[in-house]
Amino acid sequence: MYKSKIFFSLILLVLVSFIVGGSFFVKDNSYLTEKYIVKNLNYYKYNFLFDVSEKGFAGAFSLMNENTEAKMEDTQTDSIPVLVYHGVLENADEENISITDFKNQMFALKKAGWQTVTMRDFNAFIQGNATLPDKSFVLTFDDGRKDSYYPVDPILKTLDYNAVIFVITKYITEENPGNYYLSLEELKQMQKSGRWEIQPHTYDGHTFYAIDGNGGAGHFYSNRLWLFEENRLETNEEFLARISLDFAMAKNAIEEKLHEPAVGFAFPFGDFGENSKNIEDAETQVLQIARNFFPISFYQTWPGKGFPTNYPEDEFLLKRIDVEADWDSMKLLSVLESGQDKELPYNSSVYRQDDWLFTWGDGIIENDTLTLQSHAQTTGSSGFLNGSYLWDNYTFLADIDWISGLSVSLLARYKDEINHVSCVFTETGVRIEERIQNQIRVIEKRDIDLATIGHNRKRGVRVSDSMVQCLVNEKVVAVAYTVSDVLSHGGIGFKIWDSVEGSSNIQITNVSVLPL
């Protein structure tokens, strides 16, 4: 009896220890999970699917291993696009793409010769310390969610791609990541695979915070927050101290917990101070502080910010293309290809979607016409040619059907909406403007009687070092110098204007750019 009681108790004790100890061991082990197993099984699925899509169904089963060594691009790239995703779900929603679309996108990119580069290589490229092959891009995911890793990783493994994940570091230092965010163990597992780099997104700045006492809310990094206890807004010094601390904690978490250098910081919501509601020069201040902690940082770009890819001259704040949930593989490929640097001479009478990016009003691309028109809320419209950023000395000519509007401008040395030169054609003359950091300077103005030259539709602009010429029907009608050094190179674009909303419209049938 006593023996039985003792043995019974001992066995029970061992059993409980086994179950409790085991379940805690399993809980903290990122490999003994259903998700991990499914992920690894999916790798074989994708591997097979990719083989089938490349070599056909029979080819996928062929034992002969054809030499499909990636054709190394000899040419080097001048710019690198960075893509940003969030989660990858079974079915897409507003922010997150579906797994099918994502898979198709990545397969399409791989087949078109695109290859991922690491954050370190990208940084070296930006700093001018490294060159990278053509068709390089960076794949990034924001927030450090489980559904950025498990569905994606087998696809990366299949395609020999790698990715960067920007994590909210409080979930790896103190707060329970729950079932939504990746745990430290999982991040280590990702790191170990060699396919993932873990970079900081924020420590705790990923939600909206009160910026006044009346329920107003704003972003963490771009606003002075409301201190409820003291019933006041924090001071600028407190604001700077707060964001410094957050940057430091995010950086430290990555470096201490994951032993990975914090190279790039992705601003939550892509807001680096631009959307500030209560600080005047938030952008300058925020970027200045952030520079103390990270070599580079990222935000999600839009056409108004100019060319969507990154060049070695962009030093600190870099652009990411937010891949929208409804983009299919063709769309993504088109976006990336349009962003590749275009060669001179350039001649286009057939327009490709995504080659032109529109920053204002409406832009419509049909096969042989590019239409710019203002809409009900704008007095004009503008757009620029993607991939033309590096052009320096050239003649830009366009056949324009000027349907309505007071002025038509040809833009050159275009860097973005606030840095470019332009020839502004009106009914009565032409003027040359230089726009630097949004400061417009008219450097030449000529009255022309269009009738004497002939009412031809061909207009142009020629830029050569510091000289700007405006052309009508290939004849120079105005010349000016003193183009600032800032605009030593840049692409081409159009802009139209009228004093009344919705009443300007041009149709462009042929664009040609000749090197000088």
Partner: protein, 443 residues
């Protein structure tokens, strides 16, 4: 030469048999270990919520450990039974035995029950059978009368009006001459060859009651009876055996158990008049009687060496009524036993009795939470809960298969677990709510 090859063949088949057994038991052990690892995997799901919901984690570990502890305790059953035999103080123990069989309208079954009782492998002059005909309206009495001519030691007590099972039993106990009273249901009987094993444990003076192993005779009737067959085997050979390991079986089942008369008699009156919330208790007579034996500081055991057969309900309605009655009996007697068990046997009280009460009462709530509340409110799939329940059933089944390779009903353990999860555990609450309904309601 011939003798040599013969013995070689014998030796070969012996080795083969041993190897096959080893392989079989080895596979079961391996399978059990795999299930245990799977249980750990399921529990780790709860462990992830340990910091937000530690109580849930403790609960699930507690319940699982409790359920597994039954198997662990059952493993020691055989050695415990050997201990009982070793405590015997009399050699050639052959006391006078009285069968007490209450019956009502059992014309079809009673003859077999009586006949098998007299056929018992035991000195005929030391057997008497008392049948209490409790107001039968069929030919039961006629059948009994015809048997009387054959068996001298058959005593028939005929009541015109039905007075209830408990009264009938008590009356039989009072009339009995035997030192040991074997209580049988009218549709149950004990395999005569094994009968002696029911009496022999009483040679140990500490033993107050012995419960036989019962299986349903009508097991192959339909899925319900097959499921009950699996449940009977599990509840006798594992759960009762586990209780028996520590010599405290809380229910020597009414279908076939033996009592030491000297232990029962002093408590008979009180047992007969048992009341709960002011009304007489009409069910759970067996459990109630066993508890009184325990309270009198005697040991109660289960023996797998006696094979009894009984009839189990073949229709769902009667089955559920029987379950309800058993749950009521369990509920009422849990109150009764809780008053003395801690003092009598703290080990059993703390490792089994009180945990069982907690688990039984909590299960319906946790099942509701996992199967209904969580899926609807929190959108949490009940998969892990169900999987966990089936895993524990799996461990039970493996031990079941180990104990009796020939028993073919083992698959139904899973059916039982599933039904227990969604229906039977809830019946407890129905039973508690209708506790004031004292009707017997199976006959």
């Amino acid at each position: 030469m011939n003798g040599y090859s013969e013995s070689l063949n014998k030796y070969r088949s012996f080795v083969q048999e041993r190897l096959s057994k080893m392989f079989y038991e080895g596979s079961l052990f391996l399978l059990g270990f795999i299930l245990l690892v799977l249980i750990v995997l399921v529990k780790s799901k709860t462990a992830t919520e340990f910091f937000t919901d530690p109580l849930l984690f403790f609960y699930t570990i507690f319940v699982t450990t409790f359920q597994l502890s039954r198997v662990v305790a059952a493993i020691f059953y055989k050695s415990s039974l050997a201990g009982v035999d070793a405590g015997s103080t009399e050699i050639n123990y052959e006391p006078y035995v009285t069968f007490v069989i209450p019956c009502k309208n059992e014309e079809a079954a009673i003859e077999k029950t009586v006949r098998k009782s007299f056929e018992a492998d035991y000195p005929k002059e030391k057997i008497e059978v008392i049948v209490i005909n409790d107001g039968s309206t069929d030919n039961t009495l006629k059948v009994l009368r015809s048997l009387k001519s054959e068996f001298e030691n058959l005593i028939i007590v005929n009541w015109r009006k039905n007075r209830g099972k408990r009264h009938a039993m008590a009356h039989g106990f009072v009339l009995s001459k035997g030192e040991i009273i074997v209580q049988l249901d009218s549709d149950s009987y004990i395999d005569p060859k094994t009968f002696r094993n029911l009496i022999s444990p009483f040679s140990n003076p500490e033993i107050g009651a012995v419960c036989a192993h019962a299986d349903p005779e009508n097991a192959d009737k339909n899925w319900l009876t097959k499921m009950q067959a699996a449940y009977y085997f599990m509840s006798f050979r594992i759960l009762k055996a586990a209780e028996s390991t520590f010599l405290s079986v809380f229910c020597c089942s009414g279908c076939s158990s033996a009592y030491r008369k000297s232990v029962v008699m002093p408590t008979l009156k009180e047992w007969l008049k048992e009341k709960f919330l002011g009304l007489p208790v009409t069910w759970g007579d067996d459990r109630s009687l066993t508890n009184r034996v325990l309270r009198a500081n005697y040991k109660t055991i289960y023996t797998d060496k006696v094979q009894a057969y009984t009839i189990c309900p073949e229709g769902i309605k009667i089955f559920l009524k029987q379950q309800t009655r058993w749950k009521k009996g369990w509920f009422v007697n849990s109150f009764f036993a809780s008053k003395f068990i801690l003092k009598k046997d703290p080990f059993v009280a703390l490792t089994y009795f009180f945990p069982l009460i907690f688990v039984t009462l909590a299960t319906p709530f946790m099942a509701t939470r996992a199967l209904i509340y969580n899926p609807i409110v929190n959108k949490v799939s009940p998969f892990y809960y169900i999987f966990g329940v089936l895993l524990v059933a799996g461990i039970m089944t493996i031990y079941y298969r180990y104990l009796d390779r020939e028993n073919k009903y083992w698959v139904y353990v899973f059916a039982w677990s599933a039904i227990n999860m969604v229906i039977l555990s809830f019946i407890l609450f129905y039973a508690i709510f209708t506790i004031q309904n004292r009707k017997w309601a199976t006959r």
